[in-house]
């Protein structure tokens, strides 16, 4: 190791980012100590100062380490710190720091809007940030941020937010290409207007009744959990869309044409039928469709789906290759015209994989008809997986139905299997 040139030693050490390892490396030899100012990334794990005898203030230790580095690109701090500490670190590195990740840990705090600059406010000093990731954030006041002109990636995980504070924070990041808000509560309505946004993942806790309005003409991938009202008008680039709601009812969706959409996933306990049918109508080019909506109904009452004609459905989704049918959709598929009247030219041309969940033996004949049609008209079908959940009734009809499915599986055993 001693025979390696200095530049190589520096390069090797630049792969060491754990602050404790760096501190140890400082003590190895004079050459190593002299090489460490050239590392670019510093990471303080959660337990960095757990055994601290109380002699050294952790904020100061972090400060000293940062101060010894010539040009720090990335700082990750998971151990506890104060806002004064954060301010002191950022004043050292504000010109070079590109990536910042902090465990804020202020969810437990009740007070909002204290006089002293909050940790969030202090982040504003790192003006040239390209990526910001925060864990456990309390954002009830508008953070005193100017603009982060270079910020491309913003991630907030585990947060309590208020609408105005969130909107203001997003406005300070006009050039975002990727936005992730996960495990966030307190949001009722959010309006996002980001011209360069390509990836967006939103996960809102609570009653599932958030409203979202998104204006981002370049959006390619969107995932939303916990909204009941969603408006995204500019969707020319949207390829992946996933909408789910575990706690509330999805009642309004307003999307532009989904010309580029390849993957659509809609999930939830209850969606208004208008919302379901609109999504299915707009997603006419989709290649992979995942449906797991349990009920429909415009009000509190949970309703089964209305009938969905199988021929119409597949004719309006001609590019469909992969179809996951769970929840109420399978029970709704039927043939409004009898099997004999189906246009002989009807095929399901691209369908290769189907996954179905079967729950109840009601309308067994209709369901068997659907399974048989899929196999008969699915010229490209490669696999069909049938998942059978607890059948509600202990009636013999459940056994009969199960027998029928087994027989069907056996007769099409190259394609079909039961899970």
């Amino acid at each position: 190791m001693d025979s390696l040139p200095d530049a190589i030693v520096q390069y090797i050490l630049s792969y060491v980012d754990n602050a404790r390892d760096i501190a140890v490396c400082n003590c190895v030899s004079k050459r190593w100590k002299d090489s460490l100012p050239y590392i670019r990334r510093l990471y303080f794990p959660r337990n960095s100062f757990e055994n601290n005898a109380g002699r050294d203030n952790p904020d100061n230790v972090v400060w000293r380490m940062i101060a010894s580095i010539v040009q720090l690109d990335e700082l990750v701090v998971y151990c506890p710190f104060s806002s004064a500490g954060l301010a002191s670190w950022l004043s050292l590195v504000s010109s070079s720091l590109r990536r910042l990740e902090l465990r804020m840990d202020n969810l437990a705090e009740q007070q909002a809007c204290l006089e002293t600059p909050s940790k969030l406010d202090c982040i504003g000093a790192a003006k040239d940030l390209e990526s910001l990731k925060l864990w456990g954030v309390l954002m009830t006041c508008v953070p005193k941020w100017d603009i982060f002109p270079k910020l491309r990636n913003l991630e907030i995980v585990g947060a309590r937010l208020e609408g105005p504070a969130l909107s203001s924070a997003i406005q300070a990041c006009p050039n975002l290409t990727s936005l992730l808000l996960l495990g966030c509560e307190g949001v009722r309505s959010v309006s996002i207007d980001l011209p360069l946004l390509e990836h967006c993942k939103l996960d809102f806790y609570g009653l599932g009744n958030c409203s979202l309005s998104l204006t981002s003409p370049k959006i390619e991938s969107l995932e939303v959990q916990g909204c009941s009202w969603i408006r995204v008008r500019e969707t020319n680039c949207l390829r992946n869309l996933s909408i789910s709601n575990n706690s509330g009812r999805v009642y309004m969706v307003d999307f532009g044409k989904l010309r580029a959409l390849e993957f659509l996933s809609i999930r939830g306990i209850q969606w208004c039928w208008d919302a379901v049918s609109k999504m299915l109508k707009w997603a006419s080019e989709v290649k992979h469709l995942y449906m797991k909506v349990e009920f429909t109904g415009d009000y509190e009452a949970l309703q089964p789906f209305p009938e969905v004609d199988l021929v119409d459905f597949f004719n309006s989704h001609p590019k469909l290759q992969k179809f996951d049918v769970h929840g109420a959709m399978f029970a709704a598929l039927c043939q409004k015209n009898s099997l004999k009247n189906i246009d002989t030219a009807f095929t399901i041309p691209c369908l290769e994989e189907v996954a179905i969940t079967v729950r109840s033996p009601l309308n067994a004949e209709q369901k068997m008809g659907t399974l048989e049609s899929l196999v008969k008209y699915g010229k490209s079908l490669k696999t069909m997986v049938i998942k059978i959940l607890q059948m509600k009734s202990s009636h013999s009809s459940a056994d009969d139905f199960f027998d029928e499915i087994c027989r069907f599986t056996y007769m099409n055993r190259k394609l079909v299997r039961i899970e």
Binding site: M1, D2, S3, L4, P5, I8, Y11, I12, L13, Y15, V16, N18, A19, R20, D21, A23, V24, C25, N26, C27, V28, S29, K30, R31, W32, K33, S48, F49, N51, N52, A53, R55, D56, P58, V61, R64
Partner: protein, 161 residues
């Protein structure tokens, strides 16, 4: 062999080979496409110096053989990322003295993929060790004066608690 074409693409033509000569006189053949991963070799090929065996006085035969193996593997078309990662892990899963030789060769021949791989693997060997363990493992001369050593130790005391 003509040296005017920069890349061979049609299967029927024989693959263009370059000959490398190690410091201890061994010669090795490498496909031109694989050799292009080395910026040093790429420059030589561009300037048409690549027809005679290229002498590499800084690289021993034993190491050069492995470097050729690495470049050839990484020039393969259609290798999936996971398999390649596993192959890489095995490639550097050797004694650290040899990994240092890889680093020096990759530095001299300017092969960024090999340099990154080897340096990262050395960094992994450093993580979690104490200064003494690191010194012993890598045979490093301390070079601190007793006062300097005490000083630096005190400044980084938190890491030893």
């Amino acid at each position: 062999m003509s040296s005017s074409s920069s890349s061979s693409s049609s299967p029927p033509c024989p693959k263009k080979m370059i000959t490398l000569k190690s410091s201890d006189g061994e010669t090795f053949e490498i496909e031109e496409i694989a050799a292009l991963q080395s910026k040093t070799l790429e420059n030589m090929i561009d300037e048409n110096c690549a027809s005679t065996p290229i002498p590499l006085p800084n690289v021993k035969g034993k190491i050069l053989a492995k470097v050729v193996e690495f470049c050839t593997k990484h020039a393969e078309a259609g290798a999936d990322a996971e398999t390649l990662r596993a192959w890489d892990a095995e490639f550097v899963g050797v004694e650290h003295a040899i990994v240092f030789d890889y680093i020096l060769a990759a530095n001299f021949l300017e092969i960024p993929t090999l340099l990154d791989l080897a340096c990262e693997s050395v960094a992994e060997m450093i993580k979690g060790k104490t200064p003494d363990e690191i010194r012993k493992f890598f045979n490093i001369n301390n070079a601190f004066s007793p006062e300097e050593e005490e000083d630096v130790r005190r400044q980084n005391q938190w890491a030893f608690e």
